[in-house]
């Protein structure tokens, strides 16, 4: 076929690709932070007294979880300006990732809260603690520990999803790769190497998560 692999292009493009990794990591970390905030706030709102608030949270979760990310980010980028809210691509990407990840985080964290044995909560009440104190001091940490693997798994997915943010011209690894590809036409080499870079990013994040887990959730259980 006459096609020979030539990985030298990847070598020359290395600085650009590494900056792309930084972009991806930045989007991912900011997105995770936002997702976590939406997650915890959403879980609290999901059990709120106001039926309206609960309905809004449920509706939000269902809509976000059942439509593709691409449609969501297009909506944020192209539709919000119509109502006067113009966000730059990076902000759009972070919000889209945070909103998307947040909807999943709400469901995951809620599962963790529900997995806490009822006796733990009752023991808190029996000691005279109030609802908020019980949630903060007794429920939250074991709940997060219980769902930590699924939550971090979701965050890895969020990181990979950030590749779609190139659609609204956000700066991240895939968009850099596409530029390099279009300059060199060495598609296979570039994409193969970029796949490897994503793997490295995932593994880096997973080690980070493991360290956090070790630091905060390493109390002994049976």
């Amino acid at each position: 076929m006459g096609y020979t692999l030539d990985f030298s292009v990847v070598w020359y493009a290395m600085p650009a690709l590494l900056w792309g990794c930084v972009g991806t990591l930045g989007l991912a970390l900011a997105g995770m932070t936002l997702a976590m905030m939406i997650g915890v706030a959403g879980v609290a709102a999901r059990d709120a007294k106001s039926a309206w608030l609960r309905a809004i949270v449920i509706g939000f979760v269902e809509i976000v979880r059942n439509t593709p990310f691409l449609v969501q980010i297009f909506f944020l980028f192209f539709a919000l300006p119509l109502v006067g809210l113009k966000l730059n691509p990076t902000a759009t990407a972070i919000i889209a990732l945070g909103v998307n990840g947040g909807a999943y985080a709400i469901e995951i964290i809620r599962g963790g809260v529900q997995s806490i044995h009822k006796g733990q909560i009752e023991a808190g009440y029996a000691l005279g603690l109030h609802k908020g104190q019980v949630f903060r001091s007794i429920v939250l940490k074991p709940a997060l520990r219980a769902i930590y693997p699924s939550l971090t798994g979701q965050f890895i997915m969020l990181t990979l999803t950030s590749s779609i943010c190139s659609a609204v011209s956000a700066y991240e690894l895939t968009s850099v790769a596409q530029r390099i590809e279009s300059d060199t036409f060495r598609s296979f080499e570039v994409y193969f190497f970029v796949t490897f870079l994503y793997l490295a990013i995932s593994w880096l994040l997973m080690s980070g998560f493991a360290i956090i887990s070790h630091r905060f959730f390493s109390y002994p259980t049976r």
Partner: protein, 243 residues
Amino acid sequence: MIEMKGVQKWYGGYQALRNVDLTVRRGEKIVLCGPSGSGKSTLIRCINRLEAIQQGGIVVNGHRLDDSIKAIDVVRQDVGMVFQSFNLFPHMTVLQNCMLAPIRARRISKTEAKATAQKYLERVRIGDQAEKYPAQLSGGQQQRVAIARALCMQPKVMLFDEPTSALDPEMVKEVLDTMIGLANDGMTMICVTHEMGFARQVADRVIFMAGGQIIEEGAPNAFFRNPQHARTRQFLGEILAHH
């Protein structure tokens, strides 16, 4: 100290307590027994308002339990409770378990809370385990921590819901001993338990429940030797047979 009058409690359509009257004087020790599902747990959980009641009234230490948060607060601070499954908080050390409620609910200082916690941990002979996590302790030790944790709130009444039934046989004794010590110090206590030896030794009154009602009560000697009701006799026959 505790006064229950005409208490009725439903879980949905199922009536778990039927017209229960019970008065407990200061310093009195009550043992509650009865077949599974008879409403023993429900009864004591109503006393610190872990369950709401649908009819009747409960007064604890002069405070009438109604739906007001204020009343519930006061009562819960006066009433300590120990569960069958310990319910220690797994992410806190023994000491933190004991300090949490005094700091958050009684708003006392950390140093003071720590001193109190140490005192009660010594009291249940477990002061040296203060820095361990619950999972690192044996069942009997965990239950003693649970007792110390409740004591740290300096309650006026202690409720025990089958505190030894999740324990290995060897550990039962250490927990019962702790409870006996507490009883001898004059604590007002209501214990759900099937440890009849314990009942004989410390109870002022033994109460037998079945089907959500109090069927029979009496001083331990009279109760064990000469139960009045057929249901009580059957129950005692079964639980004492294999001992």
